[in-house]
Symmetry: C2
Subunit: 302 residues, 2 copies
C-alpha cells in the first residue's frame, strides 16, 4: 500500500515508474554477450543510462486513466523509447546534425563508428515493433494491432521521419510560428501523442472521446515541450542539457526563440500548458499524473 | 478459370503476382503530393520501378500452400519488400557500401541527398509495420501480431541488421564457409525466411511441422541465393546486374567465390537447391511455385 503522501508525490511516482521502464528496457534489449556482440553493446549504450524517459512517463500517466497494468505500459513505453532512441542516434549522425554529445555522453557514432550507429538506429527501430508483437499489451490482439499501426504511423513519413525531412528543408529559413508548429507536430509531437495513446490503450474502458482528449493534451504538451527545448537550447549550458547547447542557432535552424523571442516563447509555453490542462478537465482526479507531467515539462529548468 | 498451361507457367504466374505486389506498393506508399513531398517522392523512387521482388514472390508461393488470399499476401509481401528496400537504401550510403548504382538507377543518396536517404530508409522501415498493423492479413489478430513479431525479429539485430554488423566486421578477413553461412543466414536469410513464413501465415491449415519445412526450404534457398549472388558479382557485368559488379572483391569482402572458388560455389548452389527441394517433399503438387522459385533463384544468369 502507498500512503496518501507518496501517491501525490510526483518525484516518488516517477522514480518508481522510471525504474520500471529501465528494467524493461534492459530486459528487451539483447544481452551484450549475444552475437553480434559489438552491435548489441552499442544498442545498450544508445538506450540505457541516460534520457529523461518523458515518453514512457507519459504512457504510465495516461495508462492510469484506463487502469492499465503498469507492466504492460512499461513494455509499450519501452517500445516508444526505443523509437525515440533510434531517432536520436540517426539525428546525431554526421550527415544529419553531426553532434558529438548526447545525454552527457559521446554520441553513438563517436563512441563506436558511423556504420555501427546507422545499424544501431535500424536495430532499435525493429526492436520497438518486436516488443509490440511479442508481449501481451492490450486486452485483445485487435487493439494491440492498432497500437502497432499507431506507433508505426507516428514514426513514419507522416510523423517523426517526415518532421525530420521538414526540419532539413527549413534550415536557414525564417519560419512563422504556424510553420514551426507544423514541423514540431510531426518531428516530436507524433511520438509524444503515440506515447500517451499507447499507455491508454494498454488499459480499458476509455471511449473515442476520452482518447481524443488524451490525444489533444499530448499534442499541446508536445508543442510546449518543444518551445521549452528551444528556450533551453538558446539559454542553457551544455552541462545542464547533456547535449550541445546553442546548437540550433549555430546550425541556423528556425526555433521559437528566433521566431518570437525568448520572452514570448516562455509565455507561449505557459499558454500551451494551460490549454493542455484544459483538455484533461473531464477526467478529474484520475488525471493527476498527466497534470504533473505537464508541469514537469513546462517548468523544467526555467 | 486458368488453363492447365497457364497454371504451370511460372512466367505468367510471376507476371500476375508481380503486378499485384507492385500495385500494392503503389497503394501503401504515400502519394508524392502529400507533405513532406520531397521525402514521399524519394520513398517511391527507392521502392518502385525496379527490384526483382523475389521476396514477395516467395510469399505468394508459400501462401498457395495455405490457400491464402493473394490480396492478403500482396500486403505481407509489400511489407517485406519495404524492409528490403529500406535496407538497400541504408546499405548504399557512403558510410556503408558507398554505392552509386542500384536497380539500374542512381542510388537514393545520389539522386536525392544523404540525409534524405537516411530518412527514406527509416520511413520505409516504419511503413512496413504500419502495413502489418493496418490491414487484415490473417484469419485472426493474434496470428497477425505473430507476423509483426516475425518480421521485426527478422529485420533486427539478431536478423538482417545483425548480419550487416557481422558483414562490417568481416571486411578484409578470410572467412570459412561456416562463417560465411552464419553471416548470410542473418544478413539476407532472415528476411527471406520471413517472406515465406508471412505468406504461409496469411492462409490457414498449416501446422508447426509444415511451417518448419517451409522455413527450412527458405533458409536453404536463401543461402543458394547468396552463393549465386557472389558468383554473379564476380563474373557478371554491371549492366546485367543493375548494380555495380565486382564490388565485393573491390571492397575486400569475403564471398563464396573468394572462399571456395567459382566452380565449387556453383556446385554448392546446386546442392542447396536440391536440399531445399527435399524440404518440400511432403507438400506434393501444392509446392509447384516454391519449386519453380528455387529454380529461378539458382539458375538465373548462370
Amino acid at each position: 500500500m502507498t500512503t496518501a503522501t507518496t501517491t501525490t508525490d510526483f518525484q516518488s511516482w516517477s522514480h518508481v515508474h522510471l525504474q520500471r521502464v529501465e528494467a524493461t528496457l534492459r530486459r528487451v534489449l539483447p544481452a551484450p554477450d549475444i552475437a553480434p556482440q559489438r552491435l548489441h553493446q552499442a544498442l545498450r549504450y544508445a538506450v540505457l543510462e541516460g534520457g529523461k524517459r518523458v515518453r514512457p512517463l507519459l504512457a504510465f500517466a495516461a495508462g492510469e486513466l484506463a487502469n492499465a497494468d503498469p507492466e504492460r505500459v512499461a513494455l509499450a513505453g519501452a517500445a516508444v523509447e526505443l523509437i525515440h532512441a533510434y531517432s536520436l542516434v540517426h539525428d546525431d549522425l554526421p550527415c544529419m546534425d553531426d553532434d558529438v554529445l548526447r545525454r552527457g555522453k559521446p554520441t553513438c557514432h563517436v563512441e563506436y563508428d558511423e556504420p555501427t550507429a546507422l545499424l544501431v538506429g535500424d536495430a532499435l527501430h525493429s526492436l520497438a515493433f518486436q516488443v509490440l508483437g511479442d508481449y501481451r499489451l492490450a486486452d485483445d490482439a485487435k487493439t494491440q494491432l492498432e497500437m502497432v499501426k499507431l506507433l508505426a504511423a507516428a514514426a513514419g513519413s507522416r510523423g517523426m521521419a517526415g518532421g525530420q525531412a521538414i526540419d532539413l528543408e527549413s534550415v536557414g529559413k525564417a519560419l512563422t510560428v504556424t510553420e514551426l508548429e507544423f514541423m514540431h507536430i510531426h518531428k516530436t509531437g507524433a511520438i509524444i501523442r503515440a506515447s500517451a495513446l499507447l499507455g491508454a490503450r494498454c488499459g480499458s474502458g476509455l471511449g473515442q472521446k476520452e482518447l481524443g482528449q488524451i490525444d489533444l493534451f499530448a499534442k499541446l504538451i508536445g508543442l510546449a515541450y518543444q518551445v521549452v527545448d528551444d528556450v533551453l537550447d538558446a539559454e542553457g549550458s551544455t552541462a545542464t542539457l547533456g547535449k550541445t547547447a546553442g546548437k540550433d542557432a549555430k546550425d541556423n535552424k528556425p526555433t521559437y526563440v528566433s521566431a518570437i523571442g525568448a520572452a514570448r516563447a516562455r509565455e507561449l509555453a505557459q499558454e500551451l500548458r494551460q490549454n493542455a490542462l484544459g483538455a484533461l478537465a473531464g477526467f478529474g482526479e484520475r488525471a493527476l499524473r498527466l497534470r504533473q507531467i505537464a508541469d514537469f515539462i513546462v517548468l523544467r529548468k526555467f
